[in-house]
């Protein structure tokens, strides 16, 4: 398919005077797996609910495979499947009845894949939803999405409540979807999950997109971790350009380097270095680097009172 899976055009949302999402321009190709990251209240769930047409944008718009997400909502939804962070299902229905209903409403079901997923996720489909734990309800939501084989999967914190074994099953299912050419929009807090699954990453902060790129793009932008072991006392690195967060434990020195590494190497050449290790930053370090500096400020970032980002589960607006 030549149309991009998602295009947003100045998509923005304000609740009264509170801006939950500043104008967002984002494009996601068909078949691509995009990680959508951000702290609580950054506007991730708001973005997703705008894409799904559950919220009305204050300005701008979004297209799903070229279909307007507000005007042609139902047509756009034929191409996608969505998993919320915490699914609200009908408590009196069993798992099987729920999957039957959701499949019929969606209009397209891969029955064999559904049965396989029920098996793999170890879901007891005869249990009533009322009696299921949060994780087991989440499995129903995930199976309902994957069994549709939709061209676009929109997943909002999909693994909340899943145990590590089930999380592995989830990763497998996402990789299968990717192999099948399905696009995946994955909003997540579990950075290892995003790192393992996603082609590209978008980072949101206080309702603004602050970074997009592949993992290697992002690594370029971030600091390199350098660990040096000395024969003796480590030298003083004050005033070396680009070096920060210096930690010294005995004869071991750890620091971060932004930009060229040359000034650090020059300084080290005068000391007796026994071992030098450098490591590219993990996604977690990139993420923390974006927020760590002003973690105090983060606490004060606006969260939409009703339809805010529900990453912490407690006030998940679904």
């Amino acid at each position: 398919m030549s149309e991009p899976a998602i295009t947003t055009n100045g998509l923005s949302k304000a609740f009264g005077s509170l801006v939950a999402l500043h104008p967002l321009d984002l494009e996601m190709a068909a078949g691509e797996v995009l990680g959508y990251l951000g702290p609580n209240g950054a506007g991730k769930t708001v973005t997703i609910r705008l894409l799904l047409g559950l919220l009305r944008p204050t300005a701008g718009g979004a297209r799903i495979f070229g279909l307007d997400s507000q005007a042609d909502t139902a047509d756009a939804h034929r191409h996608l499947a969505y998993v919320p962070g915490e699914a609200s299902l009908w408590p009196a229905l069993t798992g099987e009845e729920t999957l039957h209903l959701l499949g019929r409403v969606h209009g397209r079901v891969d029955g064999r894949y559904r049965d396989e997923l029920v098996e793999r996720f170890a879901l007891d489909p005869t249990r009533k939803v009322r009696t299921l734990s949060k994780g087991n309800r989440q499995k129903i939501s995930l199976i309902a999405a994957f069994m549709s084989r939709a061209e676009l999967l929109v997943l909002d914190e999909p693994t909340s409540g899943l145990d590590p074994l089930m999380e592995q099953e989830f990763r497998r299912a996402v990789l299968e979807a990717k192999d099948g050419g399905q696009a995946v929009f994955l909003s997540s807090h579990i950075l290892s999950e995003v790192e393992a699954l996603c082609d590209r990453i978008a980072i949101l902060r206080a309702g603004r997109l602050v970074e997009t790129g592949t993992m290697s793009d992002l690594r370029h932008l971030s600091a390199l971790t350098v660990e040096v072991t000395f024969d003796g006392t480590p030298p003083d690195l004050d005033g070396v350009p680009g070096v920060s967060q210096v930690e010294i434990v005995g004869s071991l020195l750890r620091c971060q380097v932004n930009g060229p590494i040359e000034p650090l190497l020059q300084r080290l050449s005068t000391a007796r270095v026994t071992q030098l290790l450098s490591r590219e930053p993990s996604l977690e370090e990139i993420f923390l680097a974006h927020y760590g500096v002003s973690s105090l400020e983060l606490g004060r970032e606006p969260a939409a009172p009703r339809a805010g980002d529900g990453d912490d589960g407690g006030d998940d607006p679904r």
């Binding site: 139902a74 609200s88 299902l89 009908w90 039957h100 409403v105 009322r130 009696t131």
Partner: protein, 549 residues
Amino acid sequence: MATTRAEAGITAWSSSATRTVIARRVARVAARGAALWGFVFGAVVVASVTGYVNAYPTLADRRGVAESLGTNPGVQALLGTAHRIDTVAGFVAWRSVGVMGLVGGVWGLLTATRLLRGEEDAGRWELLLTGRTDRGRAALAGCAGLAGGLVALWIPTAVLTVLAGRGPDAGFSVTASLFLSVALVAPAAMFLAIGALCSQLAATRRQASTLAAAVLGVSFVVRLVADSGTGLRWLAWASPLGWVGELRPLTGTRPAPLLLVAAVVAGSVAGTVALARRRDLGGSILADRASAPARTRLLGSPLAFAVRLSRATTAGWMVGVALGGFIFGVVAKAAGDALNSGSAADLLARIGGRSTGARTYLGVAFFVIGSLVALQAAGHVATTRDEEADGRVDNFLVRPVRRIPWLAGRLAVAVAAITATGLIAALAAWIGAASQHTGVGLAAMVGAGLNVVPAGVVVLGIGTLAHAALPHRASAVAYGLVGWSFLIELVGGIVDADHWLLDLSLFHHLAPAPAVSPRAGAAVAMVLVGLAAAAVGALWFRRRDLVPA
């Protein structure tokens, strides 16, 4: 109260403050609605006093009323047994206790199940239980909070009743007035407690309120049979609502039945605490199957599913009104004969119609049926909003389902449900009437059954508009509209209230069929108003954000 201790920045509240946190929280929420209803209870007493004095100024007028209404089994079945209604005191007690008892009972069971089981279903009870308390104590604290709500209901009732009683027309002693106010809130007290008990027995809030409503419904029907002159007077002692009638406020002031009321309250509270200790949080005492074989009927589309979701509730309403309609039908002949012979026809003409006899009585009975149908419609508005508030509608709207067809489907199901309810009431009333050879035709009864449907359609329409414009207030608007209309009819019929006030009632524009033939024009106009409001609501709903609870 809260003592704070600053130790390394930790604020610690005294254990008495943490112990009362649940009770205070429940009381605060319960008291809001309770105070409002307290004023309504008091207002009904005030209006009954002035209404009676204005309508029946002379002793002869009052004797006439007593002769006809006071001996009329049908009217007494509706409102309870009348005692000495040739006096202001007797009439006011008769008029207010029966009806407001029913209203209080409904308020009590809804409040208790919402604040206990509803909070538990939503997971908020769990948060409170992690504090320094256990399940039994928490349940007791919840009951104490509900008692606070009851006090908030009683205070305005008592103040207005005492004020009304001190007027020159009434002249009730303060003690007698206070006893009346206690009788008015006694059903609320019992059904708060019964609601709390049902919250422990059932697995969900809906099950709990259905269970408690069934107890109330049975109490009402038993009381109705006891008061319908069938020689089963003793049955009144089998119904909590019957005990309240036996208190005889203002006329006899017999406090003994209060012991029964107190016993129900104490027994229910004790049961609540004991069951809360025994069961798991989120669990139930009544067997609730954890798993079941899949039944995929009515799971094919949102419309089919709306039918599936509402069928149990609809069946409950239909059984309830069929039972009520049948009893109204059975007593209609005797009631009509009594009406024909007295000046009560004049009184009923104000609430009912110009015709006399059994048809007039059934006209009043179908006002009650109409109120129930309108309540059923309000229930549909509330559950539609709940689907959105709890996020279940998202499951449809993130799939290829448009908002307007979803909403229209639910409205269609609601209209079908209230129409079926009106018809089954008519059919049951006809069977009951025919069993006594009352001579009311089937066509006339079916007409009366259909005649109440437009009121429900208006509730659905206005409720849908409120759902779109004020999502958090949708069920309050729908139930408020029904409650308001009911009270206006009740008070307006005897007060001769200003005409514009009556115009605001749902029921005022409907002919009291089968006493007179339905007014087709008014019925069509009401349906159109309802549909127009629903259409505006649907368009609005399509354009707005989805709003969670």
